[in-house]
Amino acid sequence: MIEFAQATKVYGKSDRAALDHLTLTVPDGCVFGFLGPNGAGKTTAISLLTGALMPTEGSVRVNGVDVTQEPVEVKRQIGYVPDGMQMYDRLTGNEYLNFIADIFDVSKADRQARAERYLALFDMTKAAGDRINSYSRGMKQKISVIAALIHEPKVWVLDEPMVGLDPRASFELKQLMREKADAGATVFFSTHVLEVAERLCDQVAIIRRGQLITQGTPEELRQRSGDESLEELFLELTDDSAAGEGEVGAK
């Protein structure tokens, strides 16, 4: 379970919060989609969750433990797939997986079994011996996903995970997210690809300019806005030129 309570982040001395009093609860066994346009504050929220940033105000708790109080304890439970190219790309894929497994104290047998399964699943077994800086963008993303799963995290956090993946890998990833959630883990991911959110998520939240606009199951959101597709709703809610402060969906 992930709880954001009034979580706020102001970068440096900006006069505007990148994340503005976000209050959100993500239950166990749920695939949770975190939606928002570019610059909405998705990565910022995730950084507060993974302990890479300190909240300016408010708190984030994972399974009841506060990230600021017990950071190492919380981080141990999280498998994190960062966005973009954050990666120790001078290692080979194999070395990278071993590194992450060492950090999370995964036994030799476990890491081998898991790595072999996921490498085969994403067709990465042959490339695993090469340096990551020789990979394509999608291959890097795959290694990142596998690394996040090598310690069977209770909480799986993915920042724009579909970017750069081919259709096959994207399909496998969605299956995995479903599988982990059904096994009781919490899967929290950010995206701006709406079809993914619509079909995959048990719940979604939409944020814009750091503020939570609306939250619910995809079904609920569609009903509230009178059977528009989620895409239309999203465009409407996140339209900066619209006069209303995004109250359309939230009754």
Partner: protein
């Protein structure tokens, strides 16, 4: 031409970005008061660094003046400013010309390869002019104050400073480009480049000392060498441009003209000669060899603890990033190597009776029990040089760059991370200090016990410097660098770590000077005291990192 100028401006700005000491590091929320304090701190540090260079050169200048050899000060400054670049600049040249990540970006712009090369060489020259100014300016100013016609000298001095780095940079660019072409597309390119570069440097050093010792045999006595111009000529003899520069500074405009002509021609020639094929070579250096997947590779699934794993990661990152390998390790290895070559050639040049006697004298001094304290302190001081020239530790957090947030998301205690990085520094210090100690011990016949004590003392100095500069880098990492060379080379935190070294050495020198007459033991004890204090400071800093739950400021 217009394209070239635009490119030049952007590259210069990009290359020098990290040097702004007031740049905000990443994400910070310091209060105004704290910011002002930090700026004052930075300014004091910079003033201190400038002050110590000036002080050193002032003392040297006074010494030479009393001996009636003012020109020696000019000669030394010119030598340090130009030959220094030549000997130590090769790795920097390779990394600033070839290890930028922007080659693919530049390749698609409507500029020619020669323009890109010219722009790169120019920004290399500009950075070297910067270093030259720092090194030679105090000596030049002191000399000017004693001149009858200071204005003329000032003009000549400014011209000389601008001209001095040109030839070394041209030679280095030539060598670097040839090296990269020779080794292009080889699987073991980094190793080849590393070995060949060391080969060049050693060959050059040997060549120079051979030249000198053969000149010695002709003159055959140290006495003639000690006359005013004899010594100067000998010193500058193996690098003619230095001779032209000194003659030019002393008023010979013709020699200055010669220096200007050759200096300007050299880089232009190199650019014309090699510029055309530069971009393809630079692009090639970005390619990584992958293995052919004809057979299944055996993946290994070993395991180790967090500290070990992070430590290995640190080493792999360093060894597999050419810019860090060259700039981080090369200087540290080069230094004792050069010292070895220097002493060796000193030996072979000392075929004269005077030379032999001199070494015999030093050896007997080193073996006199009463001098044990002095010997230990001197060995420690020289062996600790490695911790100053090693920029790896002082940039360890900065070099994580965009990986920094990910590193923070790992469940690792801050202190474990610090130690994983600190150990790298300690290991490098140990290897460097060991080489230096062995060289000195062998040549001067220092008893093993004293050598070991000196070595240990140097390790403590290394620990203090590394720990303090690492914690400073942790507090204010400079994460947004343009390329890997910038991350390690133009990082202000590294400057701070050098200043730290100077301060610590300064603190040691004070009691040494005061107590010199009181005997070796007193000197040794006082130095140990200062070092113990520095170690205590670093332990406190480390302890404070350990107390924090999380790694952020």
């Amino acid at each position: 031409m217009k394209n070239y100028l635009i490119l030049q401006r952007v590259l210069l700005k990009n290359d020098l970005m990290g040097l702004n000491p007031f740049a905000q590091s990443g994400e910070e929320k310091a209060s105004a008061g704290k910011l002002v304090m930090r700026r004052i701190g930075v300014i004091v540090l910079l003033l201190f660094a400038a002050g110590s260079v000036c002080f050193l050169e002032y003392e040297l200048y006074q010494l030479f003046r009393e001996m009636g050899m003012r020109e020696m000060a000019l000669g030394l400054a010119v030598l340090v400013g130009s030959v220094g670049t030549l000997l130590f600049g090769l790795f920097q040249g390779i990394s600033s010309l070839f290890e930028g990540k922007d080659a693919p970006l530049l390749a698609v712009l409507p500029v020619t390869s020669r323009q890109v090369y010219a722009a790169r060489v120019t920004s290399f020259i500009v950075s070297q002019i910067g270093t030259t100014v720092v090194l030679v300016l105090p000596a030049f100013v002191l000399y000017m104050l004693d001149e009858a016609a200071p204005v003329g000298f000032a003009i000549r001095a400014i011209l000389t400073i601008l001209l001095l780095p040109l030839i070394p940079v041209a030679i280095i660019s030539l060598l670097a480009t040839l090296l990269m072409r020779v080794s292009a597309f080889s699987r073991h390119r980094d190793t080849i480049v590393m070995i060949l570069s060391f080969g060049f440097a050693i060959a050059y050093a040997l060549f120079v000392t051979r030249l000198n010792s053969s000149a010695d045999n002709q003159v055959n006595t140290i006495a003639t060498m000690l006359t005013k111009d004899g010594l100067l000529n000998k010193m500058l003899g193996f690098y003619p441009p230095a001779q032209w520069a000194v003659s030019g500074l002393r008023g010979d405009w013709l020699q200055l003209l010669l220096l200007a002509a050759v200096s300007l021609a050299a880089p232009v020639l190199v650019v014309l000669l090699l510029g055309g094929s530069y971009l393809s070579a630079a692009l090639g250096s970005g390619e990584r060899s992958t293995r052919r997947h004809s057979r299944q590779q055996a993946l290994s699934w070993g395991g180790s603890g967090q500290l070990m794993s992070l430590h290995v990661l640190e080493w792999r990152e360093t060894l597999r990033t050419p810019a860090w390998l060259y700039n981080g390790l090369a200087g540290v290895i080069m230094f004792p190597l050069m010292m070895g070559v220097g002493f060796y050639s000193g030996f072979s040049a000392a075929s004269t009776r005077e030379g032999e006697n001199l070494i015999k004298m030093v050896q007997s001094l080193a073996q006199t029990p009463e001098y044990a304290g002095y010997v230990i302190v001197i060995i420690a001081a020289i062996a600790a040089m490695g911790s100053m020239v090693n920029p790896l530790v002082a940039t360890a957090y900065s070099r994580e760059g965009q990986n920094y947030p990910f590193a923070l998301s790992l469940p690792v205690k801050p202190l474990t991370r610090v130690w994983a990085k600190l150990l790298v520094g300690l290991e490098i210090n140990a290897v460097c200090a060991l080489m230096i100690t062995v060289v000195m011990a062998v040549i001067f016949g220092v008893p093993a016990l004293l050598a070991a004590c000196g070595f240990l003392l140097a390790q403590l100095v290394g620990f203090a410097i590394s720990a303090i500069s690492l914690v400073m880098d942790l507090r204010h990492p400079r994460l947004s660098w343009a390329n890997e060379t910038a991350a390690i080379k133009t990082n202000f935190n590294q400057v701070i770590s050098m200043v730290l070294w100077v301060i610590l050495m300064g603190l040691c020198v004070v009691p040494v000077v005061l107590l010199w007459e009181r005997g070796g033991t007193a000197v040794l004890l006082s130095v140990c005291g200062v070092i113990a204090l520095a170690c205590a400071v670093s332990v406190v800093l480390l302890w404070r990192v350990g107390r924090k739950a999380s790694a952020q400021n």
